[in-house]
Amino acid sequence: MKEKTFVDDIDESIYDFRYDEDENDMLDRGITPAIINEIADEKHDPDWMRAFRLHSLELYYKQKMPVWGPSIEGLDMDQIVTYIRPKARMRNDWGDVPDDIKNTFEKLGIPQAERESLAGVGAQYDSEIVYHNLKESVAKQGVIYTDLETAMQDEFYNKMIQEHFMKLVPPTDHKFAALHGAVWSGGSFVYVPKGVHVDIPLQSYFRLNAEGAGQFEHTLIIVEDDAYLHFIEGCSAPKYYAASLHAGCVELFVGKRATLRYSTIENWSKNMYNLNTKRALVDEGGKIEWVSGSFGSHVSYLYPTSVLNGEGARSEFTGITFSGAGQDLDTGAKVIHNAPSTSSYMNTRSISKGGGGNTFRSEVRVTPKAKGSKSSVSCASLMLDSESRSDTIPAMDIRTKDADIGHEAKIGRISDDAVFYLMSRGLSEEEAKALIVSGFADNVSKELPMEYAIEMNNLIRLEMTGSIG
């Protein structure tokens, strides 16, 4: 009965990239302060930011590569360096974009102009107008929605950014946080003033084609007391970049009684090392809601962290990770309960097939201050064949007796009986499995806005069957 099963991937010939290296770039391997100064010049950085970048670079030199997660030995830092310089031609020829990615665009029905932009080739497309309109409409409520570079040109917001930038994720945190601090570029800045309820979700998607956005992008969101915001990052189309490292950073500040909902669907091309750091600081009675879908990438390290720093602060994390052949995705979430009566809830699903690997890593820390706190962690993994791997690594560090902590983990394989049942009604084996997997992912899809839920289900179907029904 211990027969080995194997669910093949749609296309095995993934991403055999070649780069034509520029001679100038070849001369200078390694990130030097000169390069950082070039970046700072290019971006018209205020002095403090220039100093911050150079300081981060020092820290980058000093720190070691992480050794505790999936292997990142294949990450060629020299190659990354050639793309870090400003004006380095990050863009590719449409002809160089792998067929696999083009096919996915085709199947997801993305317009050509947008495809080119997503593949890092393209110029402007229509969503630029959507972004502009959105920006104008929220501006009436006093909401700032732009990129950090632009915001720093304004004295008031420059100060605000200086007070918050990389305070939650300091460059001392780890090597890639330091790298990020030195070379960050693009991303979003959102400021929601006291008591303002932003009705429409703001989406970074509309700004994807901004120069350099998406690889070392920095997202800084400040939601003041009693305010509400839903921010959506990313989209389901695979993002393709010449350099295979994504080291973004997300910092979220949630004020008293404020709520921030932060939804992400990431779908990196399968050569990508996704080493992303996301953190939220939540004040008294405030709430952070994470909804996270991780698709694609070769290796991911992703653990959005909530620091519950005021009495009654809350965190909810809903996540899904899907890994196929050649992928090792290490994802999860962390919560630090640092005030009384705080509560957290984590609910995650991971799916692996075709020999892919998933690790769910969670950490719940309850400090002595956090009396009367509650935490509940629930994770479920589904393996579609016996070649695939799924691990669960929960960590808990509880420093008060007065806390209510729960943890539940389920790991299982796809049920043959369920597949047979659905096939007996006329569904093909692939369709039956896709349906079961979509159902398994339902906890996340129902948390997403309608159009994103549909996109995510399409993505699952695509990963499962190679087509959208």
Binding site: M1, S415, D416, D417, A418, F420, Y421, L422, M423, S424, R425, G426, L427, S428, E429, E431, A432, L435, I436, S438, G439, F440, A441, D442, S445, G469
Partner: protein, 246 residues
């Protein structure tokens, strides 16, 4: 009309290492209702699952002809599309899709055509009424949190909506209360009136009281040991299976 719809020829079936069916043959004409009875462990469910090509059941020899085609090697979904449907003794919960949208997509899969939502809703409504089911059923996830009786009704609902040529009912009456047996019975009669062919696998006779039966087969030790008409059901009711087993 006496066209043969299903012809099972001398099949031998194993489950893991154990031989369950040992040379079973069976022939069903279009529009007929056949009943398979037999003691527990005789291989009744194995027959149903084998006809539906459940991969857990290993057909070692013999053949299955359906509607003029040899389907012995066809997988489950192909057989379903050809017009065979097995209703399950214990239907599997599938979260994430509602009964209604599942049935709709299953119909579309089988026919290869899109159905108009209006037509679909209309036929769904009359079927629900027939089965005494509230419309809210179809908004619930497929078999998720359904009681035993609800699951069985949902299977008959799918049967009437999908309208296969041959329905194999596996122990549909088990675990049903008196009222539910009546409702399910009405559903099965409706299927028969549509011209559907039935193979009813059961070890009790409650469901058969209100149903016309063309042939009754007694399955024991992996073979059909006796075939008769409706009166065989009554005989089993009075005397049990003892007399049929050598």
């Amino acid at each position: 009309m006496s066209k043969v719809l299903l012809e099972v020829k001398d099949i031998f079936v194993n489950v893991e290492e154990k031989e369950i069916l040992k040379g079973l043959s069976l022939s069903i004409n279009e529009g007929e209702t056949h009943v398979i009875m037999g003691p527990n462990g005789a291989g009744k469910s194995t027959l149903g699952h084998t006809l539906m090509a459940n991969p857990k059941y290993n057909l070692r020899s013999g053949s299955i002809i359906f509607d003029g085609n040899d389907i012995t090697k066809e997988p489950t979904d192909k057989r379903a599309k050809a017009g065979i449907m097995l209703t399950f003794q214990d239907p599997i919960p599938v979260p994430g899709i509602t009964l209604g949208s599942f049935v709709r997509s299953a119909i579309e899969q089988r026919t290869g055509k899109r159905i108009r939502i209006w037509d679909f809703k209309k036929s769904m409504k009359s079927t629900l009424e027939l089965l005494n089911m509230d419309e809210s059923y179809t908004e619930r996830d497929l078999n998720v949190g359904f009681s035993g009786g609800e699951k069985k009704k949902a299977e008959i609902f799918q049967l009437l909506m999908l309208s296969p040529k041959l329905a194999i009912l596996d122990e549909t009456d088990s675990g049903l209360d008196v009222d539910a047996v009546k409702t399910v019975g009405a559903g099965i009669r409706a299927f028969r009136e549509q011209g559907g062919t039935l193979l009813i696998i059961t070890h009790s006779t409650r469901l058969l009281d209100s149903l016309e039966v063309d042939k009754t087969h007694i399955l024991a030790d992996g073979r059909i040991v006796t075939t008769g008409d409706r009166s065989l059901v009554d005989e089993v009711n009075t005397n049990g299976f003892e007399s049929f087993i050598s």
